[in-house]
Amino acid sequence: MALIELRGITKTYYIGDMSVDVLRGVDLTVEPGELLAIMGESGGGKSTLMNIIGFLDSPSGGGYQFEGQDAGHLDDNELAHIRNQKIGFIFQQFNLLPRLNALENVMLPLVYRGVPPQQREKVAKQMLKRVGMADRMAHRPPELSGGQQQRVAIARALSGNPSLILADEPTGALDSQVSQEILDIFLELNRENEITTVMVTHDPKVGKQCRRTVRMTDGHLLEV
């Protein structure tokens, strides 16, 4: 059973009287354990596709099956629930909450899941250890470097034990050496723990290291 199955997904935005077709029929199947890079120029619809895959947005048309379940038309609470249970987000700008320390940031998805404090602290500590941040748990994001912040963000995404990691330009804000370190974490997680990862990037070096690459152009998706 495929993890993600998109069939003829369309997305149209309305700006006043104008309508903009951002996605014009996207088909995509992602099997469990895949490491997929979505490449393409900005404005090509990559982010919109990511938002739909990550349940931040609903498609205008087409069918979306996630883990074999129809996921095309969910209400706001159902979307929040499925994001919390199934998706781990990683952003270009890390998006850690600056007032919380690393440990608290990593625990946050579990807070919304209602996991008791002791248990979520245990899980969060494990995840931070896994990304090599065990000695920085009490630090707050402004006290950490970009690479360290992204490591914490990865730990946060992993803490909910998601079916899918969605990374939007995860190395876009980092220099090339740190980028490679972060990418290595993704590769290792995918290889050793078979964590399904979908990554948006426009860096060909990153794309090359992913097992499968697709290209988004003008609302259409092409296998490379």
């Binding site: 609470n77 929040a80 629930h81 994001r83 919390n84 998006n95 919380l100 998805p109 919304y112 899941r113």
Partner: protein, 402 residues
Amino acid sequence: MMPFKEIVREALKSQAAAKQRTLLALIGIVIGIGSVIALVTVGEMVQLTSEQQFRQMGTNIITIQRGWGDSQGGGGNQDRQDQMITWEEAKGLAKKFPKLEAVAAYTSTWGQPLFADKSLDMPVLGVTRSFAELNKLTLTKGRFISDLDGYSFFGVLGAGAAAKLAKMGAGDPLGKTVFFKGRGFKIVGVLARAEEGGMRPFEINPGMMIPIHTSFLFKKERVINEIMARLAPGMDRQRLTSGLNKYFKMYQPDMSIQVRSAEQLINEMAKQSRLFTLLLGAIGSISLLVGGIGVMNVMLVAVSERRKEIGVRRALGAMQSDIRAQFLVESVILCLAGGLIGIALGVGAAYVLAKVNGWIFFVSGMGLALGVGVSSAIGVFFGYFPARQASRLNPILALRDE
């Protein structure tokens, strides 16, 4: 759904982070709650204190005065003298109404008595022995006016008057002479300070009391100003009042009298002070409204400053209700903190006012509950709109926010 304890912890952290803005927003709430608490407390203290004063003398005291209201019409000023209660009428009361346990008629004149050739501005009361008993007066020195004093020229000083004299160099006023309307009055007693208020004539403390017969020497007729009396227990006031009216009409057919009882005054005062409390509370509420709008403003700013945070939380699985609860709890905590400071300040202000004015200091549990309740309610009321706005942010747009 996020557990409530977590929401509160998050809210506390957010407030601590925005210290300066939090503090500014608090000022409105602090002032609002503070004034409501102070005003409500002061209202209750005044009520309690005045009730206490009445109770001290007993609630079964009545006063009888000639009526002012309906006697004005035909007569005009020259008839006034005719419509005063006379000494003979007052004297007959005790016999006619055996349920009146003690009766004290008195006269009251303002004058400029002289002491050591200096003029004193003080009231002079013509009294009988029972005046001291009814008003629960105690002496610090000497004796009170006796009914055997007849037309003699003795005087008893109120505590205020004695202090005045002492300031003019009298030292111990006992045995000294005060001149009034050309006659020398020998001071035979000094009263302890009598609490003001209640049914007590206000002239006692600043005044000089002389035998009532002596006071008639300075009047054209033997007329009195007021009669005080104490009722036997279980007396029906309505019947007494109509009986008294009949009694006085026997002597002067045009006469109308006014009977006031302590109980009646207490009830009136309670009603008035309730109204007063309500009015003051309303004024405080206005400051609270202003404070509440301030809080709403702060919360709106917080929401727009934290759009990104909201987006992140939504992406991590927070539902709209989680976000709403988070900002609502922040707003309530903000208002509660302000409310608690306000309560402290209000109680402090009430304490100072009580000490300065000699009121009984008293903080009602209801006032405190009101303060806490009102500040929470303001937090919910003025926090709801910003919280709803936060919860309805589109997570994608919020995430894109820089």
